[in-house]
Symmetry: C2
Subunit: 210 residues, 2 copies
DNA sequence: TATAATCGGTTGCCGTGGCAACAAAATCAG
DNA sequence: CTGATTTTGTTGCCACGGCAACCGATTATA
């Protein structure tokens, strides 16, 4: 239970209040094994959840069969909470990249929800919405090199000089809407141009720019 | 006041409750003239609003100066409500395409908000989030022709056989992340291939497919 | 009505990056 | 350790579409 009080959704609430709210949210823990699908694209979202441990990935498959990775979720992050109160189908398939522990929530009783909980929820939603807009910003950059650079320098800003990406090359390519081989090609060009250094998914920008 | 009861945010609420909620929301009507900026990209969102009449457009400008149109808002739609409870900067600049009337809301007192209002708010947010995911889906399609087609057939599904787009060519190109001339070129090719017909921003798909 | 400004269509050029196919390296299974 | 599978890097080909430049049509301003 104490692992719950640290979650963003319960920020600023004491243990007693959290326990109360958990009944309004109908919380239930579950084990999820690697590869399982938590939410399937196109289906209605019935419940949402919080990832307690492990890693999830949200992906879209377009008509060509091309895979586009939208988000990566790590421990503490929520999923499904934005669409649970609307009748829109889920826009992404949410898959467990590793074995996970999940706290399922829902159906949620909003009338019994604390005002602080609502505020936390809206704050979380805002953050997720914002991340989606970031992805759109990357999409809008035509040049692959500039697209990569924009993405990497954002990661640098948020994680420091040396940082690790939550993707392998396939995932990174899918997130940046690029072909994997084209991404590899451009990354090595950028390395020889002295713009960045990397080893696997560990990156460092030299600060040379461009 | 009666024009308010029809708004999605107040769906299912009687006139008296709406009036009560309006004080919790600190609603205030305003006239906005064409070209004005309601929300500026990068600034913190202090208040949100509902468009009562006219048209708004949300746009991002990337480092190259390239313009990307994210959304078009018509009467009845909300804006800014997703980010008002988080401390993220606004990801888009919201501009009045025509003269508008706007109902400004905020700072909002959540503790005094009706549970139904919260539910409506979350439903609206879900819809907006979903629309953003649609745009991402279009972005992920590499072929311009397929991208155009995916967009147009979605519009057909939601608006019927013959439909009008809320963009001029520039806006349409910016929304689809394409060059305007390339878009024009591809549209006329598609016309000669018998895939669609159009005049200005009035479109019709022949149903031939591809 | 003249003039400017905006908008849409057309066309040639050519570089970027998707695609396929292969090679090397790393990870995994038995 | 050996073979299989996954992951990453490399390279040639060439079509798609960005870019610039131009023109006609439409709309706004005076």
């Amino acid at each position: 239970m104490t692992e719950l009080t640290g979650l963003p959704l319960f920020a600023g609430m004491d243990e007693k209040t959290v326990a109360e709210q958990m009944t309004a949210l109908r919380g239930q823990k579950a084990q999820i094994s690697k590869g399982s699908v938590l939410i399937r694209e196109g289906e209605k979202t019935e419940r949402c959840g919080i990832l307690l441990s492990g890693q999830l990935q949200g992906q879209q498959i377009n008509e060509d069969g091309a895979l586009s990775v939208i988000t990566t979720l790590s421990a503490g992050m929520m999923f499904g909470e934005i669409l649970i109160f609307s009748d829109h189908p889920a826009p992404v398939t949410l898959t467990a990249v590793t074995d996970c522990r999940v706290l399922w929530l829902g159906p949620v009783d909003l009338a019994r929800a604390d005002a602080r909980l609502i505020r936390n929820l809206l704050s979380i939603i805002g953050k997720e919405y914002w991340a989606l807009h970031q992805k759109i910003r990357y999409c809008a950059i035509v040049s692959l090199r500039k697209r990569i650079y924009a993405y990497l320098s954002d990661r640098e800003k948020e994680a420091g000089k040396e940082f690790t990406l939550p993707f392998d090359r396939n995932g990174m390519a899918a997130y940046l809407n690029a072909d994997r081989s084209a991404l590899s090609r451009e990354l090595s060009r950028m390395k020889t141009d002295g713009i960045l250094e990397y080893h696997k998914n560990q990156f460092r920008l030299t600060g040379k720019g461009l």
